[in-house]
Amino acid sequence: MARKIFRSSTGIVTFIGAAILVFFLFLAVFSPQIAPHNPTERVSRPLQAPSSEFLFGTDNLGRDILSRVIYGARIALTIAFLAVVIAAAIGIPLGLISGYIGGVFDRILTLIMDAIYSFPGLILAIAIAAVLGPGIVNIALSIAVVYAPTYFRVIRNQVAGIKDELYVEAARALGARSPSILLRYILPNVLPSVVVVLSMNLADAIMTEAGLSFLGLGIAPPTPDWGYDLSSGQRFVLSKAWWAILFPGVSIITTVLGFSMFSEGLNEYLNPTIRERR
């Protein structure tokens, strides 16, 4: 009985998380159709409180905040997905090779990855973003470097664990070459564990992106971005423009909540199956 309740409550959490994600994905894809105004154009007087015409009010440049929030979903999700894909593309192959080869190569790579991992992620991302300069790909890259070690560690440890399993040895005995052993026998067995890391990283990537653009290291200004829109926050605070702070922030929070709820549910769902398979 207790287990059943637990199961269903996890199910609800996962469902809410997924619903939030679908909602924001929808906003991101159809932002030109949904947004009532042009997000980069002056449509009214600056710092207008929310009204029926401008539901979320206007910012210090007289731009419609609702439209900026809707378009902001595009940037946030694009960068987060891109960052996670790049991180996985760096971390997974390196982890595979490092775990499979072992030896000195493995030790050095592990040491480097551990060093990156132990360093405060945001500060590392700040340093890289400062050097690379603004731009979607650059920001995604700086975030990716922070998360690549996570994939490396997960994959490497698993590969090191299973590379002497019988089925791997059998493949080797049958004359399979190392690349094909890695890709066809080992990779499919370690990949499921990455899925959870992936969805959790998406939440973190959105947070990091918001932090970077809050510090002025994100996308070049006129583009709508939640973190950047909060960076003139001090001005909003002094003029008591709560709407200019509240709405972009709430969008960040709900998106991150969506991803972390979804990944938590995914974790519960996937982990037992992974354990059973082993």
Binding site: A127, V131, G227, G233, K240, G249
Partner: protein, 319 residues
């Protein structure tokens, strides 16, 4: 470890695209000016030679000079470090207190409202960006209710001259109670904002570990011996739950540093984090590099401390 981090920082800042000299003088400077600056900064040497120079100067404790103020980066950082330590220490203590007590009580009343509340709190605060929380607090407590100052470390009207740089300590040494109160009022908002965000992680860890410990035999034995429930909770379960938590606590301190960069920027708190952001705005590469090296040093010192404490607390850990 330190060497690897140093090498990484060097790699990121020097070898990646982007020319520090061009960043300083701008794209239109005459060629000989650029060459001269390049020589001055040692950038005309080969990359390996630059790396050797860099590591040697780091070992001597020389972080180079800021290209913006022409002052040694180390001196500038020394002025700012106490502010960051004051802020992070306040936030850390707050996070540990919230995490420990709420976490332990939540574990005792598992699945009751206190526990569900704790879990909700942990999930929601995990998703809140610290700068947003800071801005909302500024708006509410600073502007609407006018209880607390919005930015800075101390009111300029007090014309306070620091001794150690730790304003709370300084004002106590001087016996300047007005300054102490003022500095404390400035510290509350950034400290609470940062502390709340970090506390969610502690809360979660303490709760989960204590729940695990409460199901162990030694807890049952303690209860059977008639020891009061609270004493079992704090003296037996929580004490043992803390061993794994300590390790993760070290990692959280790194997170605290990252949070401090954002919090300091939000509250114009004159610490190392806002220094870094300022220097990035002016593309002051020696200062950026120096700050990040200091951050790396702090992370390493913390992780060594955690290892030592771990060995002291848990006799099973041996190195």
């Amino acid at each position: 470890m330190m060497f690897i981090l140093l090498a990484l920082i060097f790699f990121i800042l020097r070898i990646m695209p982007g020319d520090p000299v061009l960043a300083i003088v701008g794209g239109k400077a005459p060629q000989h000016v650029i060459e001269q600056l390049r020589e001055q900064m040692g950038l005309n040497k080969s990359i390996p030679a630059q790396f050797v120079d860099y590591v040697l100067s780091m070992l001597r404790g020389d972080l180079g000079k800021s290209t913006l103020t022409n002052r040694p980066v180390l001196d500038e950082l020394k002025e700012r470090l106490p502010a960051t330590i004051e802020l992070t220490a306040f936030a850390f203590v707050m996070a540990v207190l919230i995490g420990t007590f709420w976490g332990a009580e939540a574990a005792r009343k598992k699945d009751r409202s206190l526990d569900v509340g704790a879990r909700m709190f942990a999930i929601v605060t995990y998703a809140i960006p610290v700068f947003w929380l800071g801005l909302m607090m500024q708006l509410l407590f600073g502007m609407v209710l006018k209880w607390l100052p919005v930015a800075g470390r101390i009111s300029p009207a007090l014309s306070f001259t620091p001794i150690t740089g730790f304003y709370l300590v300084d004002s106590i040494i001087k016996g300047n109670w007005a300054a102490l109160w003022d500095a404390f009022k400035h510290l509350i908002m950034p400290g609470v904002a940062l502390g709340l965000i970090i506390s969610s992680i502690f809360l979660r860890m303490v709760r989960n570990n204590t729940v695990l410990m409460l199901s162990k035999d030694f807890v049952k034995a303690a209860v059977a011996r008639g020891i009061r429930e609270r004493a079992v909770l704090y003296g037996h379960a929580l004490k043992n739950a803390f061993v794994p938590i300590l390790t993760i606590m070290g990692l959280q301190l790194a997170l605290l540093l990252a949070g401090a960069v954002l919090t300091e920027t939000t509250f114009s708190w004159p610490g190392v984090g806002s220094y870094l952001v300022q220097k990035i705005r002016y593309r002051d590469f020696p200062a950026i590099q120096g700050t990040i090296v200091i951050f790396a040093l702090i992370v390493i010192v913390i992780s060594i401390c955690v290892d030592i404490i771990n060995a002291l607390v848990d006799p099973r850990v041996r190195y």
